[in-house]
Amino acid sequence: MGNFYRDNDDIQFLFRHLDLAPIAAYAEEGFKYAGRFDTAPKDAQEAITNYDMVLDALGQLSADFIAPRSESIDREGCTLNPDGTVSYPKGIAESLNALAKADVMGFTLPHRFGGLNFPNLIYSIAIEIVSRADASLMNIFGLQGIADTINFFADEDIKQQYLPSFASGKVTGAMVLTEPDAGSDLQAVKLRAFQDDDGNWYLHGVKRFITNGCGEVLLVLARSEPDRSGGLGLSLFVCDRGPTVKVRRLEDKLGIHGSPTCELYFDNTPCRLIGERQRGLVTYVMSLMNGARIGIAAQSMGIAEAAWRIARDYAASREQFGGPIEKLPAVRDMVIDMKMRIEAGRALLYETSRVVDFEVGLNKIAENPDSDPAVAKEAKQSLRKIKRLAAMLTPMSKYYCSEMCNTVTYDAIQVLGGSGYMRDYASERLARDARITTIYEGTTQLQIVAAVRGVCGGTVEKYLEELAAHEYAESVKDLLAILAEGTQTLKECIAFVKEQGVDYMDLVGRPLVDIAIALINGYLFCDQASSKVAFETATAESGDAATPKKVPMAQRKLMMARRYIIRNAAQIRGLADLIKSGDKSTFREYEVLAGAVPELG
């Protein structure tokens, strides 16, 4: 019996190391639901026990039930039937049924709708675990933000209509946003929403690249104000799958074959408005997308973890030149760097999820009319800062984890060599599955545009100051000095870029964000290396299988922090040189350097 939660020492360590009590208190709104619901915890300790038990069950389901089906899911793919319905591969249908039976399809929904009311951090851990078993399943399990959006913004009767069915797994949903001419630029959405004489809303038009567009409940972004172009002409609607919604086409994709990507045609489909008109894109979809970005970051973690494990095993067991290939310096380096990047991504993702949990919690206090006015005022003040931080960390996590996942899955194939390129091993599937993560829910380039505003707008400097002011163990003092030096370099870069104007900021957005992430992750590693949590992890040094040699995790994290910070210090210097070069040839010389547009076959 396997368990993708219990067998992952980094997750086990972080679960103990991170201070979960405050986010549990926020999620449970001061534990006011205890006694009202069988499932509501009475204190933080009980809440944390609940998180641990549920993740344990999910880890078992992922390892024993879902993972063995992933290969057949990839081979079988989804089918568009002649009657316009879509069939999932058998393994996806069975896994969804098992997830529904495990009560985990309403992870963050409130108790009153039959949800678990868990924080986003715990949901991120859950998405990673499920994605490690099958990346494409995440596109349904990890889209619970659809139900959250209904919960945050819709009227009570819409909540009552849909949320219990989401929580019980009776229905799945889709975010119906993209159109043929509105991909990254959602402000260009054309699908029409109109009202009849009685005020009932209908949808008409085409949507494309819709993940799980065959789901039962569709959240549709549509133009409700025909005279108004741009984002303020758009509203968000909810409708049921029915005869007026047709799946016209299923995309034939490189990876995530278990996830149906649909083209939808809405033929005067009855629907209901979510919240207020004109706030569809600017408020509701932005909130929905932020959650989905964290979801993709977590999916990326799961894919990378799965690939790393295959590579680690192969490096130890494949013999060449008279010994295992892990004895070769180049292979050793790859194996450690893969692990280092995974742990850095996890640190950043969990920190981001924690900040988002603070944001959601403070928001509840600020908006609750029953809150003590002084407490509500204080919450509002803290909220401004937290919102800015979440708005920077969310795209950073999506960017870092998805790019990391691509690097790691490619390196996994490299470690396996020719075998890795063959379909006999899962590494090629994982690399195909990974490829979408830097594209959907906002491309890497768009994440950088979002994150660089926080980097140049002062948020990162304040955050780095805060991180530097934490208490750390004596053993990381020299590393903190390197990080302080890096922070100084970042400040110089930001000052230089500001003089060059907004265009230049976007041009060097990636190196700027890379420096910022390297520094943030450096501090997060130092924090882990300073952990007082007594947790031991097995090493590869000899010892028999029953009693492997172990080291304290904090000691191991110190080694990891040192490697990460020293290697990145060199990177930071190089990136700073590039930024401060002021090279604008991209603008000036594009036509010449890119040359004439070629004619394609």
């Binding site: 069988d38 499932t39 915890p41 026990t49 609940n50 038990m53 549920v54 069950a57 999910l58 078992q60 389901l61 024993d64 039930f65 098992a98 039976k101 495990a102 009560d103 985990v104 039959g114 678990l116 029953a546």
Partner: protein, 295 residues
């Protein structure tokens, strides 16, 4: 119509993680040396019972005879969907062999008046596969062993497919009946999150008493009543409650005696290398046909 299913479950040492300290010198199992788990095929039996409940309605009661620690697997069964859990624990049950165990279990099952009794084919510690059939005998129930699938259930009768290893057999029986279930029957569901959060506090009396020993401020009767009112009580029965004849229980009721323990070490006396080529495999198959191992 609904069915009342009773599932007999056992907590067993995880024999996959066996080490040198697995056995005591007297030939009994050293339970302290191994982690205790839900006997795997009992999970298949529980899954079959829960599936009957999902399809036809009714309820599922799990029963285990064992040490107080066996309450762990009863909680696990509650997490997965069982409605009620009963722990038979009594010092006088100690050293029961399969015959005595079957007798005690049959006393408990009789009180529960089930339509269908299900148990795993066998436990991974003793591997006897005797308890199910013996319990059926003592209850005078028809027994269907090695059940892989229930094919029909219509209130009065049940048709099941038995996996006999080299073939299947379809058997029809009247109800009530006892079924022993094999691992190929199904994939047991995992604990349900909402039930985990609720039933993690479920306890039996002896566990409440143990808590009170550590924290004297705990009022055992008050906790017991509170758990009972919330449906979080694991029922605890002893031999007096079962009105069991003590001559049939424990050591007195157990004719089985361990005569000798032998440590069997398998060593290869003769081995032959087969080339991993088509010719190599063909030669090996030919040889196996020649000596009538296969074919």
């Amino acid at each position: 119509m609904g069915y009342h299913c009773v599932v007999l479950v056992k907590q067993v040492p995880d024999t996959k993680r066996i080490t040198g300290q697995a056995m005591n010198e007297d030939g009994t199992v050293n339970r302290a040396a191994l982690p205790a788990i839900f006997n795997p095929e009992d999970l298949n039996a529980l899954e079959m019972a829960l599936d009957i409940k999902d399809t036809h309605g009714g309820s599922v009661t799990v029963v285990s005879m064992g040490l107080p620690a066996a309450a762990d697997i009863l909680r696990d069964a509650l997490y997965r969907g069982a409605d009620r859990a009963v722990l038979i624990t009594d010092r006088r049950c100690a050293a029961s062999d399969t015959l005595a165990t079957s007798y005690i279990l049959s006393c408990a099952v009789r009180r529960l008046e089930p339509d269908i009794v299900l148990c795993g084919r066998q436990a991974i510690d003793g591997d006897t596969a005797q308890v199910g059939p013996q319990t059926a005998e003592k209850l005078g129930l028809p027994q269907l062993t090695y059940v892989e699938q229930i094919q029909k259930l219509d209130g009065q009768t049940l048709v099941a497919r038995r996996n006999l290893g080299n073939g299947w057999q379809e058997v029809k029986t009247t109800l009530p009946a006892l079924l022993t279930v094999v691992d190929s029957a199904n994939e047991p569901r995992v604990p349900r999150a909402l039930r985990l959060m609720k039933y993690k506090s479920a306890k039996c009396r002896i566990e409440i008493e143990a808590m009170a020993k550590d924290a004297p401020s705990i009022d055992v009767e008050a906790v017991y009543a509170a758990l009972e009112s919330k449906g979080l009580l694991i029922h605890q029965w002893d031999l007096d409650y079962l009105e069991a004849d003590l001559r049939w229980c424990g050591r007195d009721g157990s004719p089985t005696k361990v005569h000798r323990i032998q440590s069997v070490v398998l060593t290869a006396k003769e081995s032959k290398a087969v080339e991993p080529t088509q010719q190599g495999i063909e030669a090996m198959v030919h040889e196996l046909i020649e000596d009538h191992t296969i074919g």
